[in-house]
């Protein structure tokens, strides 16, 4: 029983969503046990029959058994890889198909809202349509995130590289959150933006990462909090950082922050919204741009999230 506990096959089976006997750990043990059994058997058999022919037959049996068990293991692994690819393809196709009706919903509600501006309608009605509009916007964001994750998993997330004015991107992101920030009484400061050179990357993707980090800061900061954004030139890189005095991340969960679907325990308790995909996508984008992403966080005191992107060669000259 110790071996089961030690290799934790039950947990492996549960995590992978497969049966106990299908886990790689179990199959590995079986391969070992079988090899030993077959070898011992051949040893005793060949000991009783003192002829070289018998030894050849016995050896062949050993080889055949090991090869067939090995083959079985390989076919299972192959099947798992295939299933994983099918899963990514399914997510990709499903998300793509969801986008057309989602666009239709968003555009129709936008149309309604623009008509409401001209006609008199009750605040309640307008509020309902506005809610639908906001929610379908969120759904679009989620579908786009899922598509990005599927692309990352398939190695198909393609990123353009061109000179980008990162100061402008940050300023736009700050403007984008001005309403929510005002509503929640959070102060957002963006200083240290002088002499920042152009960076080399994909403007849309960098915008996504900045918005994601900034939105996280706002989401996990209590009302009346403060958020500081900085840009800094460091060697051949520009470093973006956003600091908040929000809920922070518990120390024991620090190494899982960039994992797919990760959401920290203290956050899930009071902020139910969020998918845990944003930072996973951000990390993949920044790394594809040859930059780095990191953070520092103390629970109940706040977090600083930073990333670096290379400076464009054009602005180095």
């Amino acid at each position: 029983m110790w071996i089961v506990n030690d290799l934790n096959l039950k947990k492996q089976a549960r995590d992978l969503g497969i049966k106990f006997w299908q886990t790689p750990g179990f199959l590995f043990i079986m391969l070992g046990v079988l090899s030993v059994v077959v070898m011992t058997a051949t040893f005793y058999i060949s000991k009783n029959y003192d002829s070289p022919e018998m030894l050849v037959v016995a050896e062949s049996i050993v080889v055949i058994v090991i090869l067939s068990v090995g083959n079985f293991v390989i076919s299972l692994i192959e099947q798992m890889i295939r299933l994983n690819r099918m899963k990514s393809e399914f997510v990709s196709v499903a998300s793509h198909q969801l986008r057309t009706p989602l666009s239709a919903i968003r555009w129709e509600t936008e149309l309604l809202l623009s008509k409401f501006r001209k006609e008199s309608v009750s605040t309640k009605q307008r509020q309902s349509i506005e809610n639908i509009n906001t929610l379908s916007g969120k759904m679009t964001k989620l579908v786009n995130d899922l598509l990005d994750v599927a692309r990352i998993d398939q190695g198909r997330l393609i990123i353009r590289k061109m000179p980008v004015n990162i100061v402008e991107l940050v300023e736009e992101a700050v403007t984008g959150v001005s309403t929510i920030v005002k509503m929640r009484n959070i102060e957002v400061v963006f200083k240290d933006k002088k002499n920042i050179p152009l960076v080399f990357g994909d403007p849309e993707k960098i915008r996504m990462v900045i918005e994601n980090l900034l939105n996280n800061s706002i989401k996990y900061t209590t009302n009346h909090g403060k958020i500081e954004i900085k840009l800094l030139k460091k060697g051949d890189f520009v470093v973006f950082s956003v600091k908040d005095n929000g809920v922070g991340i518990p120390l024991e969960q620090h190494d899982r922050v960039f994992d797919k679907f990760f959401r920290s325990d203290n956050v899930v308790k009071y902020q139910t919204e969020g998918t845990g995909l944003g930072l996973y996508i951000a990390k993949n984008i920044i790394e594809q741009l040859n930059g780095k992403i990191w953070f520092d966080s103390v629970e109940n005191l706040g977090s600083i999230f930073s990333f670096s992107v290379p400076i464009s060669r054009k602005s180095k000259k």
Binding site: L102, E108, T140, I158, R160
Partner: protein
């Protein structure tokens, strides 16, 4: 009045676009497939074409080829509006002469209208 040809096969999206842009003061012409789009562009001479890529009969790229290959229509700016967003798709569209490329799910109607006005201003 500025004439815009909307080429979009999905009726709901088509309707929303047409209504919003009409409200905004444009004259709207509608095509629901690639062949209709080319025919309408030839006969009605729009000032701008809003073009989807996945279309029945002829796809957006074929429409682009035909419009850009015709001297009389070469100068009409073409704004692609699609849900395809891979770099290859975008590059192919620009290689074939598209003016701008917009991904549907990233744009509000208001932003699309803004882009259209920008393109029209620059093409004059």
């Amino acid at each position: 009045m500025t004439k815009i040809l909307i080429v979009e096969d999905e009726p709901m999206l088509h309707k929303a676009l047409a209504e919003f842009l009409a409200e905004d003061g444009f004259q709207i012409m509608s095509a629901f497939d690639g062949e209709e789009a080319v025919a309408l562009a030839k006969s009605k001479k729009p000032d701008l074409v809003l073009l989807d890529i996945i279309l029945p009969k002829k796809d957006g790229y074929e429409v682009l080829d035909e419009l850009k290959g015709d001297e009389k229509m070469q100068k009409i700016p073409i704004v692609l509006l699609t849900n395809l967003e891979s770099v290859e798709n975008i590059q192919k569209a620009f290689d074939k002469g598209a003016t701008t490329y917009l991904v549907k799910s990233n744009y509000k109607l208001e932003d699309i209208a803004k882009k259209i006005k920008e393109v029209l201003k620059n093409s004059k």
